[in-house]
Symmetry: C2
Subunit: 339 residues, 2 copies
DNA sequence: CTGTTAGCGCGTTCAA
DNA sequence: TTGAACGCGCTAACAG
């Protein structure tokens, strides 16, 4: 009952041909007679022959598997991104090995290590927010395992990445608010350590001051560690300023949700006393009574798809990019305005 | 520059010992002299030796990889479940290969096939909602690849599974509403084809009539195809009844969201004119002004964890369950009441 | 058109 | 305590 899966050796024996003949026949090699070819293929079908991928991986030094490392699967942004990756990879017969770093650098390193040992052909990664040491990425490179970064990009030279030009998103957000007559625009940014935070801050200041000549009040700028408490504290800071602000741009929708909740608890009328604009455009926000008036859509599915496309191109024998210049794909964010 | 990763052969050569000595030394085999052992281990460390998992998988017929097949990664329930699976598996040095069926039977079959070819050691799956043919599962069984089903369980004999006793959740929901003096309780169920729908309906009727002796009005029972439109239509049916209902139990939170939206648009006061109870307990609901008053929590993370635990036990040389009786783990749902 | 064979990296006998 | 040798399933180079 413990039927071992059939191998090409078995088929070869039964047909009194050599294993290589069987192998070639199954691969539709041109140098095999039609007669033998069909005989082989028929028997293979009968015996439910399935190639042993483990053996092939071993032999070819190629596993047809790509590793995907994300901070957290349960965040909508990342699970959507992985959808994009998976859909694209499946098309090309690649498998997906996943790992969650839980935003911990050591965990991330360990995942990279096991993935390397498992001989994934390439890696797509959104780096943990606290990662500052990148030797594990260099190690992959040394082992000829290509990496495509997405969304969270480390500061390294010559890497491939796909990311959203968050600055443009911020610009759109600021301009949108200005058009709505807002002048005192607050910012609840993410942790300073994140590039994503710096990008937002830079674009916020740039758009506000350089482009629109609106003076920046440093008190209007604060940040949260992304926890509910951190966000509430940030809100309390902003709302207690003498100079009142009429709009707040938040790091993302989750922050916006907590901020809005804070506002409501403190009897501040959302969308009247204060408006919110955020990043991510989570579908659920459309169910709120007082949603952020706009949210910057970052297209995680597309980012994932694109990252997979780049990686598979890198993996193909003839990368379309023959000069081996790093891929830098920028996804343009869009400001989604809530009715 | 294209440094090949070091192998035990390399180490053996450099140290003028045999490969088997190296192999044993690295495995801390007792029959190796302390001197040689340390020499080997030192050099291995220097050379950044890492065992080639592909080779080991091939040799041992074991990949230390488990396949996880889900309908859809972007659904919060499943991405949370996979978190549980991953966290548990990582602990035990197992890797996760994922695949999305997108609720399509053929896709599911194909994923099973590739996973089998890739020689995953076992599979955890939540079956596609339309799957009616289960031969691919039998095929896995024939190949000695154990399967653990979770949440969506096919009607098969002798399978291992972990699931939520949804009937109890429904019972709690109904009883909760009755305690709140509701007597006319509507139900917006899911598609009839889903077992999950039948379970809910059965428990709804059972609790209402058999246990609490409240007559069932068939008009109070309707269903949605889970689209926004379907839910709105269901709502319109329920709200236009002569006999007014004061509470509605919905198939899940997404349905509840659409239903609540419908109510608001039609000036029906949520939580006054009508109350909602649903399933899933999505975190986002806590941000609503008028959330469902309660939601049945199904603990996806725990379900995932448990499924992984069962599978790894099945995979271990000495399954704690020596009689090989199928595992049937039931997670008790909880009614989460919104403040 | 087909067969023979080496070897991918490793663990594991069996012998010494 | 160590080494030599085999084989896992498959592909590809070489030989007919």
């Amino acid at each position: 009952m413990e039927k071992k899966s059939t191998t090409i050796i078995e088929i070869a024996k039964r047909l009194n041909v050599s294993v290589s003949t069987v192998s070639r026949a199954l691969h539709d090699h041109h140098s095999i007679g039609l007669r033998t070819k069909t005989r082989v293929q028929q028997l293979a079908a009968e015996l439910n022959y399935e190639p042993n991928q483990a053996a092939i991986s071993f032999k070819q030094g190629k596993t047809f598997t790509i590793g995907v490392i994300l901070p957290n699967l349960s965040e909508s942004f990342f699970s959507t991104a992985i959808c994009g990756i998976e859909d694209f990879a499946k098309e090309k017969k690649y498998n997906i090995l996943i790992g969650q770093s839980h935003d911990d650098e050591d965990t991330e390193k360990q995942i990279v290590q096991t993935m390397k040992n498992h001989r994934v052909d390439g890696v797509i990664i959104s780096v943990a927010k606290n990662s500052v040491n990148y030797e594990h990425f260099n190690m992959l490179k040394k082992n000829n395992i290509p990496i495509v970064f997405f969304d969270r990009i480390p500061k390294m030279e010559g890497i491939h990445y796909v990311a959203c030009k968050i600055e443009d998103g911020m610009s759109q957000a600021v301009n949108f608010l200005i058009k709505q007559k807002h002048r005192n625009i607050g910012l609840i940014n993410g942790p300073d350590t994140l590039v994503a935070s710096k990008d937002r801050l830079g674009a916020y200041m740039n758009t506000l001051y350089k482009k629109r000549r609106i003076k920046i009040n440093p008190d209007f700028i604060t940040s949260t560690d992304l926890t509910k408490e951190g966000t509430q504290a940030a809100m309390s800071r902003l709302m207690s300023l003498k100079e009142k602000i009429s709009a707040i741009i938040t790091f993302n929708d989750y922050v916006a949700l907590d901020a809005i909740q804070y506002a409501k608890k403190n009897n501040i009328k959302v969308n009247e006393d204060i408006c919110f604009v955020s990043f991510a455009n989570l579908p659920i926000c459309h169910y709120l009574d007082t949603p952020p008036i706009a949210s910057v859509e970052q297209f995680p599915y597309t980012q994932g798809e694109k990252a997979a496309e780049i990686l598979l191109d890198l993996l193909s024998d003839s990368p379309s990019n023959t000069k081996q210049e790093p891929y830098h794909v920028i996804i343009e964010p869009t400001l989604a305005v809530n009715n």
